[in-house]
């Protein structure tokens, strides 16, 4: 490619720097404040991790964190199995149907408020008591869509002749899947699972509507929402920082495992 004039390159770099500043300054401020001794944005009174300590003694936050981990882990597990099978099924099908594509794509684009009230109406019509289990089955809906999208992207470049070679060498279809296909697509499966886990532990609206009334099924995002409505507190800053660290770690891992999950 021809070299761009220096002035053009400089203005593009400046533009990018401004956009990154816009994207990262708000988050950065939050993280910085979580370490502020005084806890207020008005003045820096010294470095401290005491707000993190405060989190550990807050029973509501701890139980919400526990609930979130349960929801995230169980819904990810179910979604990973179902989503991977779905991806294999779609990609080995001869004919691709538009209706099928739309059905599998829908959970990713349907506004969450709509899915949330639909599930709420559905569960209450069935008179199903709501709690963590209803959050879990609801989260599987969009999680499986994301897992299957990631695995399908991998399968699109998958060389099916290696699976055929395994069959040719005498392996059964199941052995071929276990010994050849699965090991080869495993990075994508794990990447999809990590993505699903991140989405699940961050998800608020659907959990909010399908959690039922009890305090026992409050998840971390629900807890954070309640706290934010109350106002800006140093505890939220610390909690927010921790939640972001978990998400960013899971996603960086996911990206490492499978280039192109988050960004191609």
């Amino acid at each position: 490619m021809a070299e761009r004039p220096l002035a053009t390159r400089r203005s593009l770099a400046a533009l990018l720097a401004a956009v990154f500043a816009f994207l990262y300054i708000p988050i950065g401020v939050l993280v910085a404040l979580s370490f502020n001794e005084g806890g207020l944005p008005t003045a820096w009174t010294g470095f401290s991790v005491k707000w993190y300590g405060a989190l550990l003694s807050n029973g509501d936050i701890l139980s919400a964190a526990g609930n979130t981990l349960i929801v995230g882990a169980v819904s990810t597990l179910i979604a990973t199995v179902l989503g991977t099978l779905l991806a294999l099924g779609i990609e080995t099908r001869r004919r691709k149907g538009r209706a099928l594509e739309a059905l599998v794509f829908a959970p990713m684009i349907i506004p969450d408020i709509v899915l949330a009230i639909a599930l709420l109406s559905f569960f209450s019509l069935l008179k199903l008591p709501m709690g963590l289990h209803t959050i879990i089955v609801s989260h599987v809906v969009f999680n499986l869509a994301f897992v299957s999208a990631v695995v399908r992207a991998r399968l699109k470049t998958f060389d099916w002749s290696v699976a055929e070679a395994s069959l040719d060498l005498g392996a059964s279809a199941f052995t071929t899947f276990r010994r050849v296909t699965l090991p080869l697509i495993l990075p994508a499966v794990v990447a999809g699972a990590l993505l699903a886990f991140t989405l699940s532990i961050d998800e608020f609206i659907i959990a909010f509507f399908t959690a039922g009334a009890g305090r026992s099924s409050v998840t971390l995002p629900m807890q954070i929402f309640a706290m934010i409505r109350f106002g800006v507190t140093p505890e939220i800053n610390a909690l927010a920082t921790l939640v972001m660290i978990v998400s960013v770690t899971a996603l960086t891992l996911s990206q490492r495992l499978n280039k192109g999950v988050i960004a191609p």
Binding site: L16, G89, V114, I117, A118, V137, I224, I228, V232
Partner: protein, 288 residues
Amino acid sequence: MNASNARSTALMAPALAWLTALMVIPCGLILALGFFRRGIYGGIEYSFTLENFALLLDPLYAGIFLTSARIAGTATLIAVVIGYAAAYAIAAAPRHRQPLLLFLAVLPFWSNYLIRTYAWIVLLNREGLITQFLRMMGYEGEPPSLLYTEGAVIVGLVYNYLPFVILACYAPLSRLNPELAEASRDLGASAFTTFRRVILPMTLHGIAAGAVFVFVLSIGNFITPALLGGGRFQMIGNLIYAQFLTANDWPFGAALSMALIAIMLGLLTLQAMAAEKGAGERREVLDG
């Protein structure tokens, strides 16, 4: 061939059953709910009516739709302009640096939405960082009211969805054969003409995809107006929320959801048609 298709179907069955039970049927239920009456003490009375959809045209609710569309439209426009420019800058960076830049641009998108929105409360509230900054610069008047304004909602929406626009615009920009721009220059076009006649038309579908996504998610948004608009700026998402959790008018809430889905499907269809048309033909100057 039949055996293989049977196996594919068996593989898909559990996931499709799950989606049917927990997405298709509930959404169908919502559609049906929209045609029932609200019971006297809340709840649902199972008799057919079009009242709920008629109510959508009531000036009060139509006004909320228009406000939502205006806020979502403004946020979309800003996000698309900034996002396209950023995507262009990333695509113009050295090849080996692009994956990292893109990763950094998209990373915030995957952190918690509530937290990203909350970060703006920290910046914008009366004693927030922006006020502090102004004081530091010598400002002594009343703290500016930044939070709980339409502007705050728009900033929040742009902030939350900008990474997606960057991603959507980057894809076609990075696939663009740089020789096409060179060919245009070689044939006598200026840099601006090259952008207008070659680069822009060839990346329009990325812009459209990003714009539709931002608009749909913004118009149905519930968290951002609730937290940054302080409830003063009701948008469709908040209205739906209220019907289900406070007003207890589920049929009307269902009708509102259907309207939201209709807007989304309409825009997606338009976008798909535009993409197809773009691929199919482009009238050239020769036709007169």
